[in-house]
Symmetry: C2
Subunit: 340 residues, 2 copies
DNA sequence: GCAACGAATCGAAGCGCTTCGATCGTGATT
DNA sequence: AATCACGATCGAAGCGCTTCGATTCGTTGC
């Protein structure tokens, strides 16, 4: 390993002089500066990251707490999208999955190992937000807390998404609509997307004069059975169900059928999930545009790195894809090409 | 800022003892350990990683060149597996997707940003291998080059996998077997898994006296059509086809059907791919145990970080899952729970 | 011609942490 | 009882880098 001392020796100066050439914290004569630069080049010296490191690392941190209730396949779609986008900007991605919370963020920022942060799974009152605000590094949130001032956030408009489901179903004549959401831990954590969807759903139900019930959706087959049963008990005339829970979506449909309800004839199911999943199960859905969100988030971060100041909040309007009428033939494998 | 010295003073021990409690590199009596832990807790001490050159960064680099022919969904399954395993060892993952080759590896190692390397998409004569050998940092290859001495590699035994497909089909009486492989760029790069599978396939075909033809499988619907047509032309009596190409697998089956061949009645298709995909298409397959490989790779790397010297090459025996006989009902969503 | 000045550079003392040889108690072995 | 062995702990020497007071040395002002 080439150290600053090696460079100093080679250039015939003191290590501190090399340091000053690197940091520019004290004036160095043009002559010496050139000589030191040459030695650095020649020896292939790279300052040890974390100590000097005011230089760009070309690494962005994707902070993704892998905690209970996070649906891994969907999370990984985000990762894929972020990684491929980052690649287009010549950036690598540090996947920070250990949840050390705000302290972890600060430590990472101070260690100088990354150029910026992409933060996922944001809670309404997230403890990491104040830290992000005062941090020297730029950051973008995938999802948004209650107060977004001074931040840069991008998210699907989940409130509108929840409302959109109700409106769609109410337009079709449904008067009793259930809502099966994320696992309860997600609500207990006050995770933004879950709370907002529910709020949008509830408000729209009230506005449209629709009777509704909402329940969280725990994982595990027995739980799903119980949850579906309780929905049917609480809302006997339930003719439509909105599901925001990728992990149990398929099981929910199965359970409804096991209870003797035809889907979608007896119970119309609308999912809020990535398109592919809804496509496979042939369910009407509000699309969760994972790829767009991931790419956009990276673009926003790169813009901030270049010194721009993008808007505090970018909300994508929800899009509903109706899949009731046309019973397509056997679902087909969606083919994704490798990256060229 | 709370330093290790503060903790040591508070606990009434030497700083080195605190360090040993933290790293576990030397035994510390249970009594002392508890006391030190309490002081750490009480003072809110957070070790400042990255200051000392020898400090662990708790980051492992997952080197995954995102180049043509790499199938992203499968690659991301590896990433998922690696990330969740790494999480269990309190490690984060730096996803290095930029293909700067050997130079990039060296730069990364010298920058001191990672503790070790996990290298994917390994070629038979990979330029990165000599660098990995002389690097100070431990590394594990997912896949293996021609010469593995001094390395640590883990891989599915693709040669056996190729042979296994032939044996299975030959046992069923097939005498004309096609092989549809990865895109041709993958072979041109001399990527290990592709070359080995083909070698195993060919050798087994010869051994069993089976007529065979092998073609690479480019992406894009028109290409697939052309490739399938050419296979049927070259091997008119082809009654079985081995496919090692996740990206076009579904299309291949579609094209065969479009050509009037029933699958599996006229043409038995055996895939080499992750189980889930084969399950969805209801195809017999040799399983590509992505999750196991990823987890095992991380375990190997952690073992090396602890100073152990695992075997140079670990090969997983291929497992064939037969899915012909039982036509299961409508494919069901495979549910994966979030991480708890 | 000599002191004062300031830019350029040096040397050494840290930074917080790891690591290694040394030391200090034990209990077990002769 | 003296010795040994060994686990637990300490002290000090680094690690690569920054930082700051000190030291040059060529200018300038008088």
């Amino acid at each position: 390993m080439v150290t600053i001392v090696d460079v100093a020796k080679h250039a015939g100066v003191a290590p501190s002089t090399v340091s000053y050439v690197l940091t520019g914290k004290r004036p160095v004569s043009a002559d010496t500066r050139v000589r030191v630069r040459e030695s650095i080049q020649l020896l292939g010296y790279r300052p040890h990251a974390g100590l000097s490191a005011r230089a760009r690392t070309n690494v962005l941190a994707l902070v993704l707490p892998l905690r209970e209730g996070v649906h891994l396949p969907v999370a990984m779609r985000f990762v894929t999208s972020v990684v491929t986008s980052a690649r287009g900007h010549d950036m690598d991605v540090l996947l920070v999955t250990a949840d050390q919370g705000a302290a972890g963020l600060r430590a990472l920022a101070e260690s100088g190992r990354v150029d910026g942060f992409l933060v996922m799974d944001v809670e309404l009152d997230d403890e990491r937000v104040p830290v992000l605000r005062q941090l020297g590094l730029p950051s973008v949130l995938l999802g948004h807390p209650a107060a977004v001032k001074g931040l840069t956030c991008i998210d699907l408009d989940f409130e509108a998404a929840g409302a959109r489901c109700v409106d769609h179903l109410a337009d079709l004549g449904h008067r009793n609509i259930g809502f099966l959401g994320a696992p309860s831990v997600v609500y207990e954590r006050n995770t933004g997307f879950a709370q907002r969807t529910l709020a949008g759903f509830s408000a729209a139900a009230m506005r449209r004069g629709v009777t509704s019930t909402a329940v969280p959706g725990e994982h595990g087959h027995d739980w799903v059975l119980a949850v579906v049963a309780s929905l049917l008990r609480e809302l006997p005339r339930m003719s439509a169900l909105v599901v925001q829970n990728e992990a149990v979506l398929g099981q929910v449909v199965d359970c409804l059928r096991a209870e003797g309800r035809r889907v979608p004839d007896d119970v119309a199911v609308v999912a809020i999930c990535p398109d592919e999943l809804a496509e496979r199960l042939r369910l009407t859905s509000v699309q969760l545009p994972v790829e767009v969100l991931g790419r956009w988030a990276v673009d926003l971060l790169m813009a901030k790195l270049k010194g721009h100041q993008p808007p505090a909040l970018t909300l994508l309007p929800p899009k509903l894809a109706s899949r009731t009428g046309s019973k397509s033939p056997e679902p087909r494998l969606r083919v994704t090409n490798g990256v060229g």
